[in-house]
Amino acid sequence: MVERPADEHYALIFMAGAIQDLTTARQSARPRRATEEGPLARWTLILLSVGFFSAFLLLPLVAVFAEGLRRGAALYFKTFTDPMVLSAIKLTLLTAAIAVPANTLFGVAAAWAITRFEFRGKQFLSTLIDLPLWVSPVIAGLLYVLLFGSQGVLGPWLQAHHWRIIYATPGIVIATVFVTFPFVARGLIPLMQAQGVAEEEAALTLGARGWQVFQRVTLPKIKWGLLYGVILANARAMGEFGAVSVVSGHISGLTNTVPLQIEILYNEYAFAAAFALASLLSLLALVTLGVKSYVEWRARQQSEQSQISPL
């Protein structure tokens, strides 16, 4: 086993799907009886894990849809005509539309710098990139309230210029940027490290310029890893609750994202509407997992092909 710094563990988690082909290979070559458990032990373990999975993961998902549809389909769909709900959906889309591209740009730049060059403070930069995965979302929100809030460090200066960041859209966007910036970088770094730089250097010797190298050589090699990070960042951006809740101020129709609107509906005992809106985010989560599986499959195919093709 190779030594891995802790910060690569998230990369491992992200890439865990890529091991599935190995799993299948192991099982298609039927192992000998001596390395197999008896049927009793095997089925006990399978039942335990399926039982746990159904009770703890599947049941909550089913509950969202069941509760959303409890008062009938008419009420379910009526939720999505409520102006407050629509404005929350708009704000969530706007937030993701800013935070995800910004973090994609950052992720590519950081991964390029970290995997292509040696420099002092590289480990520090790597650790910083992982930080939001460690820090409580509430702390993420707190950071920006302490910086931009009315009693924050920059508060008086912002007020003098009549700029509002906290309890307004900019604060929501910044908090979302914070919680989602690791995903693209973390998806790309292990991939680009594994791919090496031989092909980029070959392109340079053939006369390609910097941007051409990236566009023609690197981008096609990393596109599935990139997409992988982008969809994970997007799911988190649209679903973030803790960090956004702290900076939003919960002004209905103005600063509520979809998860915050769910909280408000729930606290107003509008359960059917809350769960209807929650089912929308659950669908997003399922689509994300589906796309993630597909992207992992394509990434695997791509890496297999590049191994087979003669150079």
Binding site: G17, Q27, F56, A109, R116, L142, A235, V246, L286
Partner: protein, 273 residues
């Protein structure tokens, strides 16, 4: 190393500016705010009984949940990598659901399930167990949130274990359980510990899935992140910053713990080889 590839100043410069604006300056603001008053006041805030009760709850519930995830995560990772059964691919694809599902959605779904009239809560109520609006509910929510960490850190390790070693153990007369206890489990232990620690770290800071199910009673079911939110709502910025600083230090401690596990496992591997 000579830099042949282009783009070093641009990409590093952009990354550093981005990190400075998004991370470093806000952290400096947090530290400045926490230490803006006297040390005595800061200490009094972060050690007040209500805050200490919330630390105990946040860390205790996260510990219980991460241990439970260690057990069931191990079984699930084992079953997914070793056995073939109907539904395996579905489970493997949905293990990441807690990563993808927004925490607020998880929170209200779990509350609906475990509330006294919910599908599971009504069953538990019959045997006199209250899950929602109780500490048990917090642990159950954290089990949901932390489950993927253990499975996803263990899976690659269980796949990579060489079958020859297990065959050798069997040839030397080990029973299947002895092989597991003496050969497989020690090899998987570092990954298991890492997964448990990651699940623990996530649980300590978790907010969205807990606020709905916990009932939020001071001294009873009030987690530390919720206290921070409460302080902010009362415009007690310094108090919020102080508690936030304690939580941050705890997070760094947990990060150090994961690094220690990695270091220990790497050293152990070097000795055995």
């Amino acid at each position: 190393m000579k830099r042949i590839l282009p783009g070093f100043p641009l990409t590093l410069g952009f990354s550093v500016v981005y990190m400075t604006l998004i991370v470093l300056i806000p952290f400096a603001a947090l530290a400045a705010k926490a230490f803006s008053g006297s040390w005595e006041h800061l200490w009094a805030v972060v050690t007040s009984p209500r805050v200490v009760a919330s630390y105990k709850l946040s860390f205790g519930a996260a510990l219980l949940a991460s241990l439970m995830n260690g057990l069931f995560g191990f079984i699930t990772a084992w079953v997914l990598t070793r056995y073939r059964f109907p539904g395996r691919k579905i489970i493997d694809g949905l293990v990441d659901l807690p990563f993808a599902l927004p925490t607020a959605v998880a929170g209200i779904a779990l509350t609906a399930l475990y509330a006294p009239k919910g599908w599971v809560g009504s069953l538990l109520a019959k045997v006199g167990i209250a899950a929602a609006f109780n500490r048990l509910g917090i642990v159950l929510a954290l089990v949901f949130i932390g489950f993927p960490f253990v499975v996803r850190t263990l899976q690659p390790v269980l796949v990579a274990l060489s079958e020859e070693v297990e065959e050798a153990a069997a040839l030397l007369g080990a029973t299947r359980f002895q092989t597991f206890r003496r050969v497989i489990f020690p090899a998987a232990l570092p990954a298991l510990l890492t997964g448990i620690t990651l699940s623990f770290g996530r649980g300590v800071g978790e907010y969205g899935s807990i606020v709905f199910i916990s009932g939020n009673l001071p001294f009873k079911t009030e987690i530390t992140p919720l206290l921070i939110v409460g302080k902010l709502e009362q415009y007690d910025y310094q108090g919020a910053a102080g508690i936030g600083l304690v939580m941050l230090l705890a997070s760094f401690g947990i990060l150090g713990l994961v690094n220690a596990v990695q270091w220990w496992s790497a050293r152990r591997m070097n000795i055995t080889h």
